[in-house]
Amino acid sequence: MKPILITGTGVVSAIGLGKAETLSALLENRSGVGPLVYLKTEHKEFPVGEVKMTDAEMAERLGIPKGAVTTRTALMGMLALGEALEDAALTPDMLPKVGFISGTTVGGMDMSEQFYLDYVNGEAHSEYISVHDCGSCSEMTANHFGKFAFATTLSTACSSAANAIILGANMIRCGEADIVVVGGSECITKFHLNGFNSLMILDTEPCRPFDATRHGLNLGEGAAYLVLESEESAKRRGVKAQAVLSGYGNACDAFHQTASSPDGEGAYRAMKEALQVAGLQTSDIDYINAHGTGTPNNDASESQAMKRLFGENVPPMSSTKPFTGHTTSASGSIEAVFCIMALQHGFLPVNLNWSQPMEDGVIPVSQPTQKELRHVLCNAFGFGGNDSSLLLSKLEM
C-alpha cells in the first residue's frame, strides 16, 4: 500500500489544550475527568471530561468576535485544527489544494437543545438553525482558516473521526488529493448525556474500563485532527512525518443498534482488516489503544474480539478513556494522536482506575511503562456496530 504519512497533529480534550499539555498528562497519569462545570444540566451526579474553557474563552482565543454564531463543537474543532495546520506548516494559501474531512454526530446540538422551543414557537435565536447540522459544523471549523478544496462530514457515532481518517487515506491512495486534514470534534450536550443516561450506561464514579467493577462510561469532549499526506507531497514540501497510517479496517457488527455482539464480530473484522491492509502479522502489534468505554457490554465484547484475533498473545492494551472521558465522535482521532505520541516517545498509556481483572477479559496496562513501539492499533466503535480500527506505525528510517 502507498504509505500515508501523518505530517501534523492537533488535539484538545479534558487533559489539555494542545499536544504539550496532552503529552505531559498522559505521561504523568493525570486524568481530566471530574465534576461537571460547563454544561448546563441537572445531572450533576456524573463525572465528565470537559474541555476546561467556556465557549466565550475559546472564541476569544481564536479571535472570533463576540456575538458571532458558533457552536462548541466547531470552536473545539478550530482549536485542534489550528494546531494541526501549523504543525504541518500548512498556510491559508495552500488550503485550496487540501481536503477537510471531519467527524461529528452532535453538530450544533448544544445550541439547538437550548433554543429548541424558540425554533418551534418563536423568532429568537433563529440564526442558530442553519448551524444545527453536522456539515455546517465542519464547514464553520474549516472556513475559519481558509478555503479548503473540499469538505465533508462522517457521522458514524463514536467511530466518526476514525472513519474520517479512513476516507482521507482512501482519497490519497486514489490520487484525489495529496493532503487531507482528517479527524473529528464533539462537545458534550444535554441531548446525549440524557440519552446515554436513559440507556443506563453512565457511571456516577470515574470509569474503569476492563475492570471487574466497571459500571459504565463517563462522557468527554474534545477534538483532534491529523494531516495525512502522500510521500511525494511531504518530500516536495520538506515536511517530516510523525508517523505512518499503515492500515485501517471498517466493519459492521450488524448485531444491535446500541449493543455490541458477545463475540465482538465487528471489532474482530475491523482489526483483522487493518492488519491485512498493512501486510502485518498479529505478532507485529506492540500496543492496542482499545475503544474500552467502561460499559460492561463494550469491554466484554472487545475483549472477545482481541482474544479471537491474538489468541493467548494479546499485546499490551489500554483504554485512555479514564483520562478524557468518552469523547464520542472525536475519540477516533483524539486517541490516534495519543497513539502517535506513544510511538514517538516510546511509552504505553496507562489504563487508569483499573484494579480487578474482569471475567474472561484482557488485562490492561496499569503501570507506567517505557517501551519502544513500532506498530499500534487504535480502535473506535460506534452505535449500530460501526466498528473501525486504525494501524499506526513508526516511520521507518
Binding site: E42, H43, P96, T105, S112, E113, Y116, L117, Y119, V120, E123, S126, E127, Y128, I129, S130, H132, D133, C134, G135, S136, E139, K147, F148, A149, F150, A151, T152, T153, L154, S155, T156, A157, N163, L167, N170, M171, R173, C174, G175, K190, F191, H192, N194, G195, S198, L199, N250, A251, C252, D253, A254, Q257, E265, G266, G382, F383, G384, G385, N386
Partner: protein, 342 residues
Amino acid sequence: MENKDLYVLSAKQVSIQQPLDESWMQDPITYAEPYVRSIDPSFKDYVSPIEARRMGKILKRALATSKEAIKASGLESVDAIVTGTGYGCIENTEFFLDALSNEGEQLLKPTYFMQSTHNTISSLVAIQTKNHGYNATYAHKGISFDSALQDAWMQFRLGKINSALVGGHDEMTPTFYKILRKGGVMGLDDEMCGEAAVSVVLGRQSEGALCRLTGFKMLHQPSMNSLMDSVTTMLQTVGKSLSDIDYVLTGISGNHQSDSDYLSECKTLFGGKTLLKFKHLFGESFTASGIGFYVAAQCLKAGFVPASLFVDQERITDKRPSCILLYNHSDGKNCSLTLLEA
C-alpha cells in the same frame, strides 16, 4: 488502481412521487403546496409490524428502498453500505428534544434516543440484511449522498469492493419544515420541499444495468476556474469532451438566488447545453442530489428524457441520452459533478 467499468445496477426511491416505480416519467404528480410528505409504500413486505411500530419513517423507507434496490440488482449481498443523510433521524431527534425541553431531564426514555443518530439508517440496513461489510454514513448538507457515492466510488477504484449499496435519506416533519424555513435553510421563494429516500446499487456487471458511473468530483467553494478545470479533467479522464454531454441535470428548485446562480454558472461551464431539472417534481431536501442521480440513471435506462424535466420548454427534444452530467451546487458552497453514461 482498477479501471474496470462501474455500473449502476439499480436505483429505487420513495419520495413525493409514486413510490418504488418510475411512473413519474409518464405521469408526474404536481403539487400546489410548498411542502408535502412522501407517498409511502406498504412497509409490510420489508419489516414486521412489531418492528415497524418502533421505527421512524426514515428507517422504514430506507429498508424499503434498500431491499428493493438489492433485489433489483440481482446480487445476493453487497460488499459495502454507504449512506448520506443531511439531518439523520430528525423525527426521533425532535421527539427527544421535545421531551427534554418540555418535561425536563428526569423522565426520558431511551427509545427515541436509540434511533436518533445519523448512522442508525446504515446500521439498520446492515442488521436487517446481516451485512458485516464496510459501513459508513455521511452528514454534510446537500452533498451527503454525493459524499457517500464518492466513498464507494473510490473503494471500487482501489479494488476494495465489487458492489455497494449507496443511499440517501432525509425526512421532514411539519415542525422541521417550519424550522428550516425560519432559519432560511430551505423552502424559500417558490422552492417546494419534499422528503426523499433513494437507494442505488453499484457493481461490476453490465447485464441489466441502468447506466455506467464514469466520473465524480466534489469541491468546496470553488472558483469558476477550478470548476471549469474539474469538468475538463473529468471528461478528459474518460476520453470525452464537452460536446459528448447530451444533458446537464441541475438542482434548479425555485429558490431565486440559487436558480439564477445555476443558470449563469451552467452558461459559463457548459455553454449552450440543454439543462434539466428535477426538484420541481421531487422537492428540495438535503437528499435531493440522490434523487437527481436516480432520475438521470432512469432516463439513461429508458432512453428518453421526460418533457417535464426540461428547464427551457423550447429545448424539449426526444434525443436519446447517452451521457448526462449532474451538476449539484447545493447551497452555493458545496459542488459536485457526476458523470453518468448509457
